[in-house]
């Protein structure tokens, strides 16, 4: 954020705004969309394909190419100020023709708004979309998880590698529909590969900031760091 940080009491940015809607009188589909939805269509007419409201929550579908631009605007615009990225995930449908959806859950603390942004990625061998790490640092691990489970590459992410499965995991991306529930390998092969992982070979030199203590490290660790390798296999 370029502007100077100023304190805003939650929900008070719009002086005469209505009180928050309570869950009991929310209809399933339809209803008043988020104020952001209208503004975003005016601002980016080509990027937004449709808007829907489900259980009072607004979802906007944007084109994958415009992600970074739209997100930057949602974060910076003084009338939006989505300052909290609460989730990055993806949805794959069983219908093979349906594209994979990447989903961002945004929250504006000053305006008490929630917005769900979706981008549809056609199923191609390389699933790529822009990373929002430069806007919200909290995207770091969530994008890593999304990459680990779905194989979506976030372009611009500083350190895109597996986070839940170990780094040498070879079976693919577990939450994809074409991934068999028990994995692709036999149980003994899975166990063999799991036991071959080195639980300590997870961190690079920069992450540990152990440059000062380099001489005190064990021999094998020094050799590994010197060779630039991160993984143990």
């Amino acid at each position: 954020m370029t502007e100077k940080f100023d304190v805003v009491r939650a929900g008070s940015a719009v002086p005469d705004s209505a009180p928050p809607v309570s869950p009991r009188n929310v209809q399933h589909r339809g209803g008043e969309p988020n104020a952001t939805a209208r503004a975003i269509v005016e601002r980016f007419p080509g990027a937004v394909s449709r808007t829907e409201v489900v259980w009072g929550e607004t979802t906007i579908f944007i084109s994958p190419e415009s992600v970074l631009e739209v997100m930057q605007w949602l974060h910076d615009d003084p009338a939006q100020r989505y300052d909290f990225l609460s989730d990055v995930t993806a949805v794959e449908y069983r219908d093979l023709d349906q594209p994979i959806e990447v989903v961002w859950h945004l929250r504006s603390l000053p305006f008490r708004r929630f917005l769900r942004v979706k981008a549809q990625l056609p199923k191609r061998p390389a699933l790529e979309i822009a990373s929002v790490w430069s806007i919200w640092k909290s995207a770091d691990w969530m994008e890593r998880e999304c990459y680990d489970m779905f194989g979506i590459r976030f372009i611009g992410h500083p350190d895109l590698r597996r986070i839940l499965m170990w780094e040498q995991y070879k079976e693919g991306f577990p939450l994809r529909k074409d991934f068999p529930l028990r994995g692709r390998f036999s149980r003994s092969e899975q166990l063999r590969q799991a036991l071959a992982q080195n639980p300590e070979a997870k961190y690079s030199m920069e992450e540990l900031t152990i440059a000062d203590a380099f001489e005190d490290l064990p021999d094998d660790m020094r050799r590994r760091i010197n060779s630039g390798a991160r993984t143990g296999e």
């Binding site: 529930l181 149980r187 092969e189 166990l191 799991a194 992982q197």
Partner: protein, 208 residues
């Protein structure tokens, strides 16, 4: 009178005033009796079984009655590895290493359905029974087992300890895994242990 086992093999009686300050007993019995009543557990709790394990250790069920109140969070001072909860493949090398760090004599209790067989998690991420990674002495069934169930398993382990023989060296042999694959039982056995059972036979290995 002396320090002698009662017929049930679990308790001893010693009356100092009736003897002349010395006791005679079997070394086997004395050592096993000491070991069985001071098993220090290494709690390896990964899931809901660990909650039941904590309940077992707390005052209502009171593991201290069995000489186990001292949780050993360092494997180097532990006697029993109590694996409570599911073990994902990512934890496999860690539990293997913890087991190798424990000094002999050592035992292992596999607590709950997930640790013993993978339980309902017949999927890509969970080890189908920790006995494919480390040797297990006692399996406690349940999802999760009640504290009484765990205590029953601990009593079974104590019974096993009491029946050990000093002369039997095989008991204390470290099982070294195959250096190439790091498996200590043949892959075919692991595949057989990991076969689906119950409801999960309806799920296929092939993708749709």
């Amino acid at each position: 009178m002396g320090l002698a086992a009662r017929p049930d093999g679990r308790t001893v009686s010693y009356e100092p005033q009736s003897s002349e300050g010395w006791v005679a007993t079997r070394l086997d019995f004395l050592v096993n009796w000491g070991r069985a009543n001071s098993l220090w557990p290494m709690p390896f709790g990964t899931a809901c079984c660990a909650i039941e394990f904590m309940a077992t250790a707390a005052s209502r069920f009171d593991l201290a009655r069995f000489g186990m109140e001292r949780m050993s969070f360092s494997p180097r001072q532990a006697d029993v590895l109590i694996c409570a909860g599911r073990v994902p493949f990512k934890l496999a090398p860690i539990i293997r290493r913890i087991w190798q760090q424990m000094p002999q004599p050592k035992w292992c209790i596999s607590m709950g359905a997930c640790a013993s067989s993978g339980g309902m998690f017949d999927n890509y991420a969970v080890v189908q029974g920790i006995d494919t990674i480390i040797p297990v002495d006692v399996y406690v069934p349940g999802c999760p087992p009640r504290p009484e169930g765990l205590i029953y398993g601990i009593r079974m382990l104590q019974e096993k300890v009491l029946n050990e023989r000093r002369m039997d060296n095989r008991l204390r042999d470290e099982i070294n895994p195959d250096p190439a694959s790091q498996l200590y039982i043949p892959p075919s056995v692991i595949d057989e242990l990991g076969e689906p059972f119950g409801n999960s036979v309806h799920q296929t290995r092939q993708a749709p």
